[in-house]
Symmetry: C2
Subunit: 115 residues, 2 copies
């Protein structure tokens, strides 16, 4: 578990969540686990941190929610990405990659052999 800075968490939460939801609809608890998986345990979000972000993204119209009753009888609030969300994810990716290139440029890491 890496202790990412608050600001890095803040900058990454939106593209990460949208990215997970582009894989298919999911719900809070599951998103947290998925994040832990794809980060090889480096990202461990607290629930109280995720839900406000989900609410904000829904408010912005990037995701939408629906309550679903599972076979086990448990209620889950599933989120899915909207068209606006897909567009936002596209922008987020582009911005992240732009910033990443600046970082590599500054840090003088040779990327000429990439791809």
């Amino acid at each position: 578990m890496i202790s990412f800075s608050k600001s890095l968490v803040a900058a990454s939460s939106k593209p990460l969540i949208l990215g997970v939801l582009q894989e298919g609809k999911s719900y809070g608890y599951s998103i947290i686990q998925r994040m832990k998986t794809i980060s090889n345990g480096k990202i461990e979000w607290a629930d109280g941190m995720l839900y406000p972000v989900l609410h904000r993204l829904e408010k912005e119209g990037l995701i939408k929610s629906e309550w679903i009753l599972s076979e086990t009888g448990r209620h889950r609030k599933y989120y899915s990405i909207t068209e606006a969300g897909k567009a936002a994810l596209h922008d987020e990716k582009a911005n992240w990659m732009s910033m990443h290139e600046v970082m590599l440029n500054l840090w003088s890491i040779d990327t000429s052999t990439s791809q």
Copy 2:
């Protein structure tokens, strides 16, 4: 000029500034221009945005400042990176790269041929 999100700016400002100062001592106005250069014009910081960050980094002991009178007669506050700052930059790089790998992993971008 890309309009980076606030959070992405927040997450990048520290490693970017430390990265520039690792190239050698510099001052506010010059740092802004350097940032514009290495980002191919994508990053255009307002001065009122940079100075508070410099003050914070100095308060944290990551950089230190000294007033220098140039030959032109202009006073400039030069900042240089401290040992603690170099260590912080090292961590920032590692964290950024970790997060970047998660992004690539999530976005399913093939990086197997990199490096």
